[in-house]
Amino acid sequence: MIDKRVASPAEAVADVRDGASVLIGGFGEAGSPIELIHALIDQGARDLTVISNNCGSGEVGLAALLKAKRVTKVVCSFPRTANSTVFPELYRSGFTELELVPQGTLAERIRAGGAGIPAFYTPTAVGTPLGEGKEQRHIGDRDCVLEHGIVADFALIKARVADPHGNLLYNKTARNFSPLMAMAGRTTIVQATRVVPAGDLDPEVIVTPGIFVDRVTCVADPAHESTLVAAGATYP
């Protein structure tokens, strides 16, 4: 029987070890797996490398994980956000290293990692500081830089609906990086708002096929980052 359900976020992230690389879904608050991140804070793993488009806001979710000094490196495209004070402090103090990657290159690197493509050429960032130090090559009529696929030890993502096989649907623009991260995580962990029996999802509309998913935990009423931030919430 294929059944990837686990009882809780805590159980889902129990084996994340110090030094692990972790893909974390979301663009801003849309798709951010807050409950999984909070479980990871409780769990205690340190010296993490986090690959995520942003660095969270306020002092909840991803920002709280950073604030707890668990993350020594961030790979992202846009660490600045309206209510983000945590990352700038850690960055300036030198505690957290930043690898800044153009958003489309970040997406493609994650997809490439998940798809077994070790490297690819892209015209993005040629002639800019983010293209510096990278192998450059003229292909067709374009200059390109070489970029490498990203595979991480874990992926933490949020879905709207899951089944026990790990087939996933997302909610609107919360989809963003999650289907790619599901592919690129050696262990992919999903918090789903609803879990339905296998066979309930139309095979035509599944966005992430279950083969990319290892664990599914139901978080029926996930928090919204903006609501928590507005309320001045902190975690833990």
Partner: protein, 225 residues
Amino acid sequence: MSRPSEHAPGWTRDEMARRVAVDIRDGSYVNLGIGIPELVAKYVPAGREFIYHTENGLLGMGPSPAEGHGDPELINAGKRQVTTVPGAAYFHQSDSFAMIRGGHLDLCVLGALQVAQHGDLANWSVGGPDAIPAVGGAMDLVAGVKSIFVITQHCTKTGEPKLVESCTYPLTGVGVVDRVYTDLAVIDVTPDGFRVIELAPGVELDFVRERTGAPLHAAERLTGV
């Protein structure tokens, strides 16, 4: 260098946005950057339909939702809540940037810190050791979208020209800008450098030249003069 004026001649931000919209062909797929570019969506000329792409994963973006009717997971690249129009579609980041990098979008309208005379754009970082760098999709957009329009004040708040011989801020892309819409003029980027094709009402060419950090050619028949 000119000093800023309280009552500067030229277009307002909304007029600039309206002017950009006039140049967008019916049926275009358009990505609007954060800030002034977002205003363009308010001025779709009668009889035309544009499809807005937001790089976080939506084609067919509509206006902001009515208060209390939004979904915190339906947002645009600026992380503001939006809506969808009929015919909209959601997709993941890799597909979204395939649209961008693959040249499927017709137009991107972006803000700028500086534009150089041969089309280099700087719009993502002021450099400096203490700045927190953040790039988002800007470099992908300028590398991939068919046409890049810049909409920006002609000068900075301190009166420095934003149209320059070469950028001093870190580049977003090399030779990528096709046209610049400022409060003073519409300016093409040509192989010969900047070329004014239209002046804002009441603005003289020399007035623009004085506020531009690079040679400024003029079209033979300047509209708006």
